[in-house]
Subunit: 120 residues, 2 copies
DNA sequence: CTGAATCCCCGCGGATACTG
DNA sequence: CAGTATCCGCGGGGATTCAG
């Protein structure tokens, strides 16, 4: 494990400072359901109902709140079709896709090491 | 941006399932102060007071709670020296270091794109 | 089917005071 | 210096109802 931490070190002064804009974004992403909703959308476009079933355990309210936050952040795109019955599709914007790719190593690590961490 | 999302896709079924062990670990990491405390310790060993000042805005209670969680997770090592006045040092375990390295891309992205996200 | 709106509770997390 | 103990406000988040 000889990966350099230079990048991480150089950016920490920003992230660690209160009232820094990065705090807000980090709070959105690390909000209770933020990571999971983004991960679900990494699969591609999903409808409301699919998203609700995909992210196991999320309530309708929190799904709505989380989606609206990401939509106003420009991370998630919402496309409503004027049909009966209504159909609404959610997908990642290019920015959201970048974020998901940046999250990928973290998720990979968590999946790989969850057992090791909880074994204590 | 041609990074493959194969890994992310293949692991999402795990992360997205309620009562999955990965949920617990993910909750610890994405807890309000989790990422910031880990990022601070990526710089190396820190004393309690240094840590408190480094993670701007954290209360003593939440620092204690967060540290104890990570310590019992095996991500942070606590070393107390029987001196007067007392001195306690916190550092990442090898496992914690791995986690920080996995978090690095996310933090890098957040720092780089915070402005873009908040500009709306 | 896709939500918005409302009520309400519990527990996260902050502030303060105290101790070894 | 390095915490622990206690109180408590408030907002995250669940359940339910209603609407387009």
């Amino acid at each position: 494990m000889t990966v350099s931490l230079q990048v991480l070190r150089s950016e920490t002064p920003d992230v660690l400072t209160a009232n820094c804009p990065t705090r807000v974004v980090l709070d959105h992403v690390t909000s209770k359901w933020g990571v999971l909703v983004l991960a679900a959308l990494a699969d591609g476009t999903l409808r409301w109902g699919e998203l609700r079933r995909e992210v196991d355990g999320i309530s309708e309210k929190m799904l709505a709140v989380t989606l609206r936050t990401f939509e106003s952040d420009g991370l998630v795109h919402r496309e409503a079709y004027p049909e009966v019955p209504p159909r609404v599709e959610y997908s990642l914007t290019p920015l959201g896709l970048e974020l998901c790719e940046a999250m990928s190593p973290l998720l990979t690590w968590v999946v790989a090491n969850a057992e090791a961490v909880l074994a204590r």
